[in-house]
């Protein structure tokens, strides 16, 4: 990933770095995008839970 492709964005609720942002940075994927996206989304949601955990107590 080229550094100058990193986007500035406001993450929607439930996300930290949404797949659509990452996809634009990566461009065309050589393999099966759905597999990459599915696991990206799971880990992104986990990170989101970790971040918001600190204020949801």
């Amino acid at each position: 990933m080229a550094e100058n492709k990193v986007q500035v964005f406001v993450p929607e609720a439930g996300t930290c770095v949404p797949w659509k942002v990452k996809k634009e940075e990566l461009g065309q994927l050589a393999g099966n995008e759905e597999i990459v996206k599915r696991e990206w989304d799971k880990l992104d949601a986990f990170a989101y839970a970790f971040i918001w955990f600190w204020v949801q107590r």
């Binding site: 609720a13 990170a47 839970a49 970790f50 971040i51 918001w52 600190w54 107590r57």
Partner: protein, 390 residues
């Protein structure tokens, strides 16, 4: 299907029917797990908090002799090693800060300043990462440094380890004892998210008068996050309700006007948002919510389980009964200061008054305190079985 799995399914059905406002074969009864268990165990609170396996073994010993449907509560809600790793300023646990038999303490500060409102509203998650986490966790004080990066890694790994352990223990209790958990996931009222751990109690009370528009905008910004957080922490489960500990909504913490303006609108949106996704809310209404019952009745039918602590139970039954499952009936103070006979009398009275048409779960009305008496808990469960058959 094993005997324990069959038991689990029977109890799960009993609880589910009640949540749907129906009449099961008997009134579901809830075992209140809490720190009171530890005082009978021979281990210290520090051991129980830090060593999940040790706490689990203690709980195993209690569960094997009891007959109940649903379990509420936890001993290992917060796992201190994770907080130690990041240098968390919000909690103090026995071990580093207190002697081994002391309970943990929450230390409230204004980690979000009044001048932070605009940045928080513009990008809540980004603000939490860049501003809030370094303020609440000493090890994050210099983001990007060796200490901060290592602490972040350890904190995230600790979060994953503890979540994994919690899920593993829940599965074990299902297989070995047929235990049904009261809920899955967690959310909060936006006012509590803002007032508990961001602005703090003093901060938000001043803000209601000095910058009410900022408060309202921040609450609106939190709404989608509290919906998302509830679903993510539920791992998509919609069969059990989402826990919502409600701290600053009880009467008379806010005036009626303040509650109407600041507390209710965004909390209602969170509940409705979760319900639209099929997720019911465990409306953990500690304290007295009697003045708000008519407003709560505006919610979609069956979208909450309403927990009765100090709320007028008969009025709750009149206003909410039939449309929402009611939960409670036994004051937590009675479990500490009462006698087993007084507890049995209370259970009978609660079932007589609240359970007649179904849609009722017999339980302690709040978090059972560490000084509750084991014989009173046993009396509650036994009386529920004695008087709870429909």
């Amino acid at each position: 299907m094993s005997g324990k799995e069959q038991l689990f399914q029977e109890r799960f059905k009993r609880y589910s029917v009640a949540m749907e406002c129906g009449k099961p074969d008997k009134v579901p009864v809830v075992f209140p797990l809490g720190e009171w268990v530890i005082k009978y165990s021979g281990i210290t609170l520090q051991e129980a908090y830090y060593d999940v396996d040790k706490a689990t073994a203690v709980i195993d010993g209690v569960l094997k002799d009891l007959d109940f449907d649903v379990m509420f509560g936890s001993i290992n809600l917060w796992w201190p090693p994770m907080f130690d790793a990041v240098g968390c300023r919000q909690y103090r646990f026995p071990g580093i800060y207190f002697e081994a038999d002391a309970g943990f303490q929450y230390v409230e500060e204004e980690f979000m300043k009044a001048e932070d409102y605009d940045d928080f509203i513009a990008n809540p998650t980004g603000w939490l990462v860049e501003k809030y986490l370094p303020r609440v966790n000493d090890e994050f004080a210099e983001p990007g440094s060796y200490r901060a990066t290592v602490a972040l890694i350890k904190g995230a790994v600790g979060f994953a380890m503890h979540n994994g352990k919690t899920a593993q223990v829940a599965q074990k209790w299902r297989q070995e004892f047929g235990v049904v958990p009261y809920g899955t996931g967690m959310t909060k009222a936006p006012f509590d998210t803002l007032g508990d751990s961001l602005r703090g109690t003093k901060g938000i009370l001043l803000d209601l008068r000095r910058r009410p528009d900022k408060v309202l905008a921040a609450l609106e910004a939190i709404v989608p996050h509290n919906i998302a957080y509830g679903m993510i922490t539920s791992a998509g489960d919609t069969s059990l309700p989402c826990f919502a500990p409600l701290h600053k909504g009880a009467y008379p913490f806010l005036s009626l006007e303040q509650w109407d303006k600041f507390y209710w609108p965004t909390w209602k949106k969170v509940i409705e948002g979760l319900w639209a996704l099929g997720k019911r809310v465990f409306f953990f209404a500690e304290g007295d919510w009697t003045p708000y019952l008519e407003r709560i009745a505006e919610l979609p039918d069956k979208s909450i389980v309403f927990c009765i602590d100090l709320t007028d139970a008969q009025k709750a039954k009149k206003v909410l009964g039939g449309r929402f499952c009611l939960y409670g009936g036994v004051p937590t103070t009675l479990l500490t200061y009462g006698t087993p006979q007084e507890v049995r009398d209370c259970v009978k009275r609660a079932i007589d008054e609240l359970a007649g048409d179904g849609g009722f779960v017999l339980a302690a009305g709040g978090v059972v305190m560490g000084d509750a008496k084991g014989e009173n808990i046993e009396a509650m469960l036994e009386a529920a079985r004695q008087y709870g058959a429909y």
